[in-house]
């Protein structure tokens, strides 16, 4: 099991927050920017011939002797997409610090929240050249068990190509919505084009940048030949205190660059370390970042 009952209960009380509401197909538990036939008042507008007279506010008409159409907020469901980077580099970290397991737990949590809120939830496993593996779209809590089962079936392999993976994901007609990109972003081509591609298709993107502690502070020293588990590429390096400090500075600069880019593009960025328990991230970190409420 990815999480227990009490955590699930806590998750069920949360709702995912999209800063821009997206029009849904089904009535959901979410307000839409589309004005509609719901009972929640939103605004008035002048009557135009042909308007549904049922939506005319007769009380205003009686008082002002002018017809106004009452605009009501329409409550809709939200399309939530969890795009999981399934490259080999995600299978990294010891035991509970394993990035892959951590990402699956986060995805399951997001799924639980979305399904409980009546949102459309889709999981996309991004594998370069490995075809697309996806679950959903699903709606309703009944799908949670199947979702968890699906997630537990997945194994990462291959190299990262976020742009290519995003393109493949978007090939299928989908409802745009809130897209969570769960990745370590170790993509030589960068994540920027993938972000552009998603945003171009109307997705609101939240990047959950997951790293393990030994990627933050590598426990390495001496004359080494570092072998990339994804690409098999080797890099010779003589590691000492100075070089480790340089690595830390480089990592911070990288994360800052990602954050700046996301900010400019209206995407949200949340850097995560697998040593921080995932439930704390969801219950406190994401709430603080305004991703859930």
């Amino acid at each position: 099991m990815l999480f227990d009952e009490s955590t699930l209960r806590k998750l069920n009380q949360l709702t995912l927050v999209a800063s821009q509401l997206r029009s849904g197909v089904l009535k959901g538990e979410r307000r839409s920017t589309k004005r509609g036939s719901s009972i929640e008042f939103a605004d008035y507008r002048n009557y135009i011939p042909g308007d549904d007279l049922r939506r005319l506010d007769w009380n205003v008409y009686a008082r002002l002797d002018q017809p106004f159409i009452k605009l009501l907020e329409e409550e809709e469901d939200l399309a939530v997409h969890a795009l999981i980077d399934a490259s080999q580099s995600m299978q990294w970290g010891e035991a509970e610090n394993d990035k892959w397991r951590y990402v699956l737990q986060l995805t399951a949590a997001l799924g639980a929240i979305a399904l409980a809120a009546g949102d459309h939830f889709t999981v996309g496993i991004l594998k370069r050249g490995g075809g697309l593996s996806q679950y959903g779209p699903a709606r309703g809590q009944a799908h949670l068990t199947r979702l968890l089962h699906f997630l537990e079936q997945q194994q990462p392999h291959g190299v990262t190509d976020l742009d290519q993976s995003a393109r493949e994901y978007l090939l299928q007609p989908r409802r745009a919505g809130l897209a969570f990109l769960l990745s370590d972003l170790f993509d030589p081509n960068g994540f920027e084009s993938a972000l552009s591609r998603l945003q171009g298709r109307g997705y609101e993107v939240v990047i959950l940048h997951v790293l393990s502690p030994d990627e933050i502070e590598p426990p390495l020293t001496g004359d080494l030949r570092l072998v990339d588990v994804e690409s098999g590429q080797a890099q010779e390096v003589s590691l000492d205190g100075g070089l480790r400090a340089l690595y830390r500075r480089r990592l911070q600069a990288w994360q800052k660059a990602i954050r700046t880019h996301c900010h400019k593009r209206g995407a949200r960025y949340l850097p995560l370390v697998t040593s921080t328990p995932w439930d704390k991230v969801v219950l406190y970190g994401m709430r603080q970042a305004g991703i859930v409420r």
Binding site: S89, W92, E94, N97, K99, D184, F186, D187, P188, S212, P213, D214, E215, E217, P218, P219, L220, T221, G222, D223, L224, R225, L226, V227, D228, V229, E230, S231, Q233, A234, Q235, E236, V237, S238, D240, G241, G242, L243, R244, L246, Y247, R250, L251, W254, S275
Partner: protein, 635 residues
Amino acid sequence: MTLLNPLLLLFGLLAVPILALYMLKLRRREVAVSSTLLWQQVLRDRQANAPWQRLRRNLLLFLQLTILAALVLALARPALRLPVVASGSVVVLLDASASMNATDVTPSRFEVGRAAARRLIEGLANGAQMTLIAVKAQPQILVAREDDRDELRRALAAAIPSEGAANWETALALAAAAAVGSETVTTVIISDGGLPSEGLPPIPGEIRYLPIGHSGENLAVSALALRPSGNTVELFVGVSNYGDSERLAVLSLYRNGALLTAQEMSVPAGKQAQLSLYDLPSDAAVFQARLSPAAGETADVFPLDDAAFAVYQPPRKGRALVVTANPNGNFFLEQILTVMPGITPFRSLSQPGDAPKLPAEPFDLYVFDGYLPAELPEGPLLIINPPPTLLFSTSGVFSDTGKVEIADDPLTAYVDWSNVHVLRARQVQPPPWAKVLIRAEGGALVFAGEDNRRRIAVVTFDLRDSDLPLHVTFPILFANLLDYLATGQTFEAPDGLQPGSGLTIRLPAEAQKVVITSPRGSVYILESGEGRLTFDQTDELGVYAMNYLGRDSSFADFFAVNLFGTGESEIAPRQSIRLGRATLTAAAPTEMGQCELWPWLAALALAVAMMEWWVYHNRQAGKVRLMDKMAGSVR
């Protein structure tokens, strides 16, 4: 700078295997990482300050190459050319006399002299030889014609200053001998100038003089003497000031370690102050005079002569055996022996008509009157009216005993023969070992000498054939002869000895060996069947104890060794000395010697090796710490 072994620079090629080993050592450990993306960026960043980083990365290699360079350079023996006092082959005469113990220079004159000699060794040209001679009472060649600096340094380090005077004549003879066969030899005299002002032989080659010391201020116990006076003893002590200013000191006198008196004395510059003590007990005792600075005075820079010792030994009585041909004995002879101090006479008993018999026990003196045994006993002999013997040839008698000549000898002191008449005397041919003391016209009347270390005195006439016993000359002559033959002292050192001088010891008849203990506790055992011994291990100042051991008995005696009269107390350094006709003044470093740098390079190699070890160890420890830290953070 020159290289003495430039070929050894080829060892520098060892850098090649070091570099090869280093490169082999750099076989990197393979480690899997999730991505090398960031590492590639990090390495690109590092290119900006690559030279320094590369240097840091190769610090161990750099240190190892530095060690190799230092060692190879050390092997090549680089040397700087420096001005020195002497170059080429050198003979060094290092003054090791007592005055070199003075501390007017730090730590002492001898150590400063040793340092000067060490500088000469360091400046010794490659292949040049050096001879080191320590000049003492018996000059000692520390090392001869040696070109190995280590050997020279070891020999120099082993040299110690003596407490006696220096025998410069012998030392210069040794130096001249060491110079034989060498074309150019420089003799360097390192001394405070206590050389005799004249009489020293010239030596070949260049001579340089390095004076040591700067102060002549010294207060010394310059005399300590004891004299019997009736039944008591008188003590005389002299304190001399060799400096240029009046000095105040406390003189303490001890008898057998107990303080007799202590007095403050003021001694004018260049003068002697004296003190006498009377009515001291006449039993054997060791006296000591010791100087200490008075309140407010600075300590003496030459403490060796601040103490002096003297030994009072009452005369010991010797046993004399009188054997006379006359059965009634010789009245005059026995009388004179009886009244002589220090002699206890015994008469040999024999039946009338029989030949006298000698007792088996030994005596300190044998007196034979008109008789000589076939086999002479051990010990000194006084022979009166000798019968024919193997000792010397006799031929009848002579009666022309006038025209007496008296030899100038201590044995004839105060002897007046003018009124003495001798009726007849035996015609004796004095042997080569004897000196004729009194000679008459017809032949020798009295002669004495030492044959095979046995003292023999001969009176060639019968006392009863002369009127000698009736004259005052009789006791004077016999006192002189008996003093010579049978002195109660086993050695003669009435006023003590100077350090390094020999002492002749007459073993008493009953003693078989003598054990001598020096002031610092060294023990010497002397054994001899000859009855005479020579002891010359008198280098230490102080009181020596002598224990005579016999079969059934033993007794002790003492003698003192002092600096009196050696000139060592005059410690004022001399800026010039005379050798032959030449006057030598302080030498300046005018010649070029070489100072080898290899010890410094070896030290540098050692220091860098230690640094390399530290860097390596630190890196290893850093790895372990990092692993622990990361393990902790992952947990």
